[in-house]
């Protein structure tokens, strides 16, 4: 059985929830870690295992307020793993969320959507302020 990963967010790294039993897959917050390769390697390993026998439907949520360029590369690595899910006859979808008015996060989502082969849903949520 694949043990869930549950990482709380820090000032430099995002919250990460990977839970097959609950069908919850989420990366949220900011990712400005200086060594993203090291940070994302357990996530990568988990997903590599997961995609062998994925759920019928995998909805993977990204809700990233910031990510540095080296994190972008690692996030893409995760997305490329997800691209293998359809080969097993199962479905996968990326839900890319951004805060209202946050054009940068939207643009970043659009861009990753453009280079990925996945079903990508980009949506805005209301600003938390005021």
């Amino acid at each position: 059985m694949l043990e869930p990963i549950n990482l709380e967010k820090t000032k430099n790294s995002p919250e990460i929830i990977l839970n097959k039993q609950e069908a919850e897959f989420k990366i949220a917050g900011r990712s400005i870690v200086e060594d993203p390769k090291e940070f994302y390697s357990p996530i990568y390993n988990w997903l590599e295992e997961y995609i062998k026998t994925p759920l019928k439907n995998t909805d993977f949520t990204f809700d990233l307020e910031y990510f540095n360029s080296s994190s972008a590369r690692q996030i893409m690595e995760l997305i490329m793993l997800l691209e293998k899910i359809p080969e097993t006859g199962n479905k996968v979808k990326v839900l890319w969320l951004y805060e209202e008015g946050d054009e940068m996060s939207k643009e970043r989502g659009d861009e990753i959507k453009l280079v990925s082969k996945l079903d990508f849903e980009i949506s805005e949520y209301p600003s938390e302020d005021f």
């Binding site: 000032k11 430099n12 400005i32 200086e34 307020e65 910031y66 540095n68 360029s69 080296s70 972008a72 590369r73 893409m76 490329m80 805060e99 008015g101 946050d102 054009e103 940068m104 996060s105 861009e111 990753i112 453009l114 280079v115 600003s127």
Partner: protein, 361 residues
């Protein structure tokens, strides 16, 4: 602000282990973050000065708002309030500059001249007098701040008034806090040094400037401060500034040449012609310049479409091993900046050079 401006500041602040300056409208936010920055980053041997330094920074900062022109203005000009804290050797300096009405000058001058001539017991006596005298307490301070500054530093308060016109002057003051347990033997920095820095900061339209050690731990508080002070800009600009800063500062911490074990760097945020400017400066090994220059020229000579294509290819494929291929960070900077990435290398010695960079958006 140009790449050469950054070099000029590097020369002016060459001896500073840490320095931070801020120009513009003053909020407690800036103050909280500035004090935190020094709390987190002063060397261990100065630890016992930390509380005193915070206290003096607060007094000086509040002094600016107390004597400053009450007219609030969002537009920065050459007379905007200025605040700076610097650490050189075993001494900390807290500098303030603000507008003052010419008719208030005699009162302020008198208070300052008085505290500068008193000894310890006279100061204590004056402090108690002012504290208990309701009559002279009406201007929300009556010099208590000055008395406290002198009592805490055991020194004098250099000050000056620089006339602007027949109504207003710029009021400069400098607090000097020496570590009594250490003696670096360095002479004190004069107030004219601070005046020179303020003039250049104003002339180059710089809002915020920091010099210090850009190791990974030091970047965090820096980013936090910038973030907290951008509450009044739109989310779009806010994100962009933050994004650029992360890339640029992490770049310094990762790739700069460490002199005496420190990744020394300087960074500035400016605002000019409705555009933000971010500038950084750090050391780089002479042997690395050629490769870096190739990367910078490569991204500078590409169109935005070409850069986008490069970025997207890189996202999927990762870095090619070919030398001169730019990293994601540089490609990203190049496609987001309004202009090109401006850069300059100034040779310091046979081993390393000073590398400065500015981007505008």
């Amino acid at each position: 602000m140009t790449t050469n401006t950054i070099y000029q500041f590097y020369r002016l602040l060459e001896k500073d282990a840490i320095s931070f300056s801020y120009r513009g409208s003053f909020s407690n936010n800036v103050l909280t973050m500035a004090t935190q920055l020094f709390k987190d980053n002063v060397e261990e041997k100065h630890e016992r000065l930390r509380n005193k330094l915070s206290f003096l920074m607060i007094e000086s900062f509040q002094n600016i708002s107390r004597y400053a022109d009450t007219e609030e203005s969002l537009n920065l000009d050459e007379n905007s309030e200025f605040f700076m804290t610097r650490n050189i050797g075993d001494t900390f300096y807290v500098i303030s500059a603000n507008l003052i009405d010419n008719d208030k000058i005699p009162t302020v001058r008198e208070k300052l001249e008085r505290v500068n001539t008193l000894d310890k017991s006279e100061l204590n006596k004056l402090y108690r007098e002012v504290l208990t005298n309701k009559q002279i307490n009406e201007k929300g301070g009556a010099g208590l701040g000055f008395i406290e500054m002198v009592r805490k530093t055991k020194g004098k308060l250099p000050f000056d008034f620089v006339t602007i016109d027949n109504k207003r002057s710029m009021f400069f003051m400098q607090i000097e806090l020496r570590n009594p347990k250490e003696d670096d033997g360095l002479p004190s920095i004069s107030l004219s040094d601070a005046k020179q820095i303020q003039a250049l900061v104003a002339q180059e339209n710089i809002l915020m400037m920091h010099k210090g050690d850009y190791s990974e731990d030091a970047i965090g508080p820096m980013l936090k401060m910038v973030e907290e002070n951008m509450q009044n800009v739109s989310l779009k600009i806010h994100k962009k500034i933050f994004h650029f800063l992360v890339e640029i500062l992490q770049n310094i911490s990762k790739h700069s040449y460490a002199v005496n074990g420190k990744h020394e760097g300087i960074f500035q945020i400016g605002y000019e012609n409705k555009r933000y400017n971010i500038g950084t400066g750090n050391f780089i090994l002479n042997t690395e310049i050629k490769n870096l220059k190739t990367q910078l020229d490569t991204v500078n000579n590409k169109t935005v479409d070409e850069l986008n294509e490069m970025y997207r290819k890189y996202l999927r494929e990762g870095k090619t091993t070919k030398s001169g291929s730019a990293g994601l960070g540089l490609i990203d900077l190049a496609r987001e900046t309004e202009d090109k990435i401006n850069y300059e290398f100034v040779k310091i010695n046979d081993t390393y050079s000073f590398y400065s960079l500015t981007v505008k958006f």
